[in-house]
Symmetry: C3
Subunit: 335 residues, 3 copies
C-alpha cells in the first residue's frame, strides 16, 4: 500500500494504533460486560427477539460500509487497494472509539457498561460519519491523518447528535441531519484545512478507467440495495419500520430514474455521466432519512427522491466538484 | 455510456423517462396510500410479522437482480458499465410501472391503492420478466428501445399471469412458466423484430476477456446463492416455504455438478466452457420453480436439476446461441 | 478453464462426477425424504420458526463460501476463473457427499433420512473443511485430484468431529478445532504428499496484479463481514447466540486493527502487506470459534482477536509461506 509522501515518521501509525488498541483492551477489561446470561439457554425473551430482528439489518449495513462504500471509492484505479484498506481500518477504529465514548456518555451504570448488539449498531452509525467525511480527503491524506480526523470527529458527532436529537427533539431516524449533513461539513472543513492553498490537480494515476468505474458502480449498487436497512434499522418495530422501508424504496427508485433524466438532459450528447449516476441514485436515500418513518403519503417520498436527485446532479454540473460532493451530502466522488 | 448509433433524437430518453416519472408522481399523489397506522407503535401484528419474514427475502432478490444479474451481463468488457446501468434503470422503471398496473388491476378499492411490501415484491417479480427478456437484445438496442420494450412487456406479463395462474389454476410459485418461459419468448420475439435480417456478427469490442469473464461468473454465483430466496418468497409460510428452500438448494446443487459433467464431456479437451457453467448452474433453479413447494421427494428435485442442466448445455452446444439462450429460459449470455 | 497438465485421461473428471451424481440420485430416491407435511399450510410450528431463524444465517454462509472465498482465491490473475469454478464445484460435491455420510451415520431411522435445513447446514460445515484444505494445493492440482481429496477428507472430518465433540465433549461452536485445525493439517499433508520434492517456484502467471489483489481483498472483506453468522449459526438460540455474535464482532475488529499494527511494524517502510491484511483480519474469527458462545468477558474476545492477528502476521513473516498459511488455520494465500 503506497503511503502518500508526507513528513511524519513511519512508525507513527503502528504506535498510535497499537496504543489505542491496548488502551481499549484495558478499558474493556475494567468496565465492559455482557448482560447477565438469562436463566436458561432456550430463553427467547424480548432481548433475544430484538437480536433476531436487528441482526439481518446489522449485516446489511456492514456489507454496505465494508464492501459497498469500499468499492465505491476504488474509482481511482491505482488507489483502489488503499481505499478499501483505509475504509476498513477507519470503520473498525471509529466503531471501537465510539463504543467507548457512547458507553461513557449514555450507558455507564454502576461502573459498568452492558454491551449488546444495539449499542454496537449505534457505534457503527457513529463510524459512518467518519467514512463519509473521509471521502473529501481520501487519496490525499496519510493513514495517520485519517485516524486523527476520526479521533476528533467521533466526539464532535456525539455532541452534535445530543444537541439535535435530545435537546432540539428533531426526528432523524435515517441520520440525514446528524450523520450526512454533519459529516459533509466536517469533511469539507478538514479538506480546507489540510489542503488550503489550491484545489490540487488530480495526480495522473487518479484518472478513472473503464474497469475501476465498473467496480465503483458495483459499490454504488450495493449501497443502493441495502440502503433501506440502514434507514429502517433504528425505527420502532412494526408499522413505523415497515413505512421506513417502503418510503426509502420509493425515494431511491425515484432518485435512480430522475438521475438518468437530469444527467441525460445536461449532457450535450445525451450521455449519462458515471459521477451523476453514482451520487444521484443515492441522494434519495440520504434525503428520505429525515421523515422515513413518518406517515407521509407515498407520493411525498417519490417527490423527495426526485427532487434530491435533481439537486444533486445540478450541483455536480454547476458547482465545483468538491461543493457538489457536499451538496449531495453523501458518499461519492467528484469525477 | 456509449449510446448505440440509432436514428432517434437524443432528447427522447429524458423526455420519455421524465414524463413517466411525473405521471407516476401524480398517480401516487391521487390514488396511493399506506395502510392506516396501527394503534400503537410497538404493535407486532400479523402484518408487521409478515414484513419481518418477507424483508430478508426481498433484499436477497434485490441483490440478485441489481448486483448479480448486472455483473452477469458485464461479460462484454467495454459494454460492462452500460449493462449495469441499463439493468438498474430497467428494474426501477419496470417495477414502478408494474406497481401502477397491478394496483389498478388487483388492488383498487374505494379509489385507493394500499401499498405494502408484498405489493412492491410482486412488482419486482414483474420487473424480472423485463430483465430476462432484455438479455436477448442488450448491447444492440438503445436505452429508449429497452424502455419501450419494458412498457409493452409489463401489461402483457400481467395478462399472461392472470390467464395462467387465475384462469387455468396452474401452480407456479417460482415463476418458471409465467416469468421465465414468458419472458424468454417475449425477448426472442423482440430480438427477431428489431434485428430481423441476420444474426449480426459480434462487434470486435464484444469479445469477452479474462477479467470480464471473471466478473460475469461472480454475478452468476450471486444469482446461484440467492436463488432459493427468489423461489421461496411467495410460498405459504411454514412447511411449504421450508420445502421450497430445500428443493431449490438440491436442484441447484445437482445442476452445478451436472453442468461440469456435461460441459466437460462435450469439449474435445475436457475443458469447461464459461458459457455452459453460467447458464447450466442456474437451469435447475429455473426448472424447480414449477413444483418447489410441493411435497415431491427430494430425489425428484435432484433429478430435475440434473436434467435441466443437461438440456441447457446440450442446447448451448447444438442449437444456435440465441435459441440455446432461450431453451435455458434464464438470464445468460451466448458466448 | 485451463486444466493443469497432468497424466490422467481427460475423461476421468466427467466420469467420476457423473457416476457420483447418479449414485447420489439413487441413494436419495431410496432413502431420503422430507418431514411429513404438517396438518395445515399456515402452520408456524417450532420447526418452521427454526427455518426462519436459520435461513438468513445459511444464506450469509453461502455468500461467504461461494463469493467471498472464491474471490479471495482469485489473487493469481490468470487462475482466477478456475479458482472460482473449483471452489464452486468442490462446495457442491462435498456438501452432497457429506449429506449422504452424515445421513447414514447420524440420521438413519427406520430406513429413512429426514432432510431439513439444519442437516443441509451441517453438510455445508463439513464442506468448509475441504474448501480450506484446498487452499494449500489450489492452482497446482487438477480438478480430479481436488475431488479425490474431497472424497477422502469428508469421512475423515466426520470421524474427527465425532471423536472431538462427542467423545471428548469439547465445546467448539465455531468449528475452530474440528474445522480449521483439522483442515489445515489435512491440506498440509496432501500438499506434502502431492508435491513432495520441493516447494515449486511460482509459475510466472501466478504473480498477483493490482486488479487481482483488489478482488482478493473484496473476497476477504465479504468473509470478514459474514463471519459472525458462521460462528453463531449453530449456537443455542437466545443469549448464547447473541453472545457469539458480539464476541465474534469484537474479536474480528481487534484482529483488523492489530493486523495493521503488526504488519506496519514488520515492514521497513511501514507499508501494509496485502497477504498480512487478508489473513490477519480473519484470524480473530477463526480463534474465537472455540469460546464464542461462552460467557467470557468482552475484553477476552478483544484480546484473543489481537493475539491471533499478531501470531498470524508473525507466522507469515518468519516461517515459510506454507507453514504460515497453516498457522493462521484459515483460508488465505501465501503471497
Amino acid at each position: 500500500m503506497a503511503v502518500p509522501p508526507s513528513t511524519h515518521p513511519r512508525r507513527l501509525l503502528p504506535l498510535f494504533l497499537g496504543l489505542f488498541q491496548g488502551t481499549l483492551l484495558l478499558f474493556f477489561a475494567l468496565f465492559v460486560t455482557y448482560d447477565e446470561p438469562s436463566a436458561q439457554a432456550e430463553d427467547t425473551s424480548l432481548v433475544a427477539n430484538q437480536v433476531y430482528s436487528t441482526f439481518p439489518f446489522f449485516q446489511d449495513i456492514q456489507v454496505m460500509l465494508v464492501v459497498g462504500l469500499g468499492l465505491l471509492l476504488t474509482f481511482l484505479p491505482r488507489y483502489g487497494f488503499s481505499a478499501l484498506t483505509h475504509i476498513f481500518l477507519l470503520l473498525n477504529f471509529s466503531m471501537q472509539w465510539a463504543l467507548v465514548l457512547q458507553g461513557l456518555l449514555h450507558h455507564f451504570h454502576q461502573g459498568q457498561i452492558h454491551l449488546d448488539l444495539h449499542k454496537l449498531l449505534l457505534s457503527v452509525f457513529a463510524a459512518v460519519t467518519v467514512l463519509i467525511s473521509v471521502g473529501a480527503i481520501l487519496g490525499r491524506a496519510s493513514p495517520c491523518q485519517l485516524l486523527i480526523m476520526a479521533t476528533c470527529e467521533i466526539p464532535l458527532y456525539l455532541a452534535t447528535e445530543w444537541v439535535i436529537v435530545t435537546c432540539l427533539g428533531v426526528q432523524d431516524v435515517g441520520g440525514t441531519i446528524t450523520i450526512h449533513v454533519f459529516s459533509c461539513y466536517f469533511g469539507l472543513g478538514v479538506s480546507k484545512t489540510l489542503f488550503r492553498a489550491t484545489q490540487q490537480p488530480l495526480h495522473p494515476k487518479e484518472t478513472p478507467t473503464t474497469s475501476s468505474d465498473l467496480m465503483s458502480l458495483v459499490g454504488t449498487l450495493i449501497l443502493w440495495v441495502f440502503w433501506p436497512s440502514f434507514v429502517a434499522v433504528l425505527c420502532q418495530p412494526g408499522d413505523a419500520q415497515h413505512r421506513a422501508i417502503l418510503n426509502t424504496l420509493l425515494a431511491m427508485s425515484a432518485s435512480a430514474i430522475t438521475t438518468v433524466v437530469a444527467s441525460s438532459l445536461l449532457d450535450r450528447d445525451g450521455k449519462l455521466s458515471p459521477g451523476h449516476l453514482q451520487n444521484g441514485s443515492l441522494a434519495g436515500g440520504v434525503a428520505i432519512g429525515v421523515l422515513a418513518d413518518m406517515a407521509v403519503p407515498p407520493a411525498a417520498s417519490l417527490a423527495l427522491g426526485s427532487l434530491s436527485a435533481v439537486l444533486c446532479v445540478l450541483g455536480f454540473r454547476f458547482l465545483t466538484p468538491s461543493w457538489a460532493l457536499h451538496l449531495c451530502m453523501g458518499p461519492g466522488h467528484s469525477a
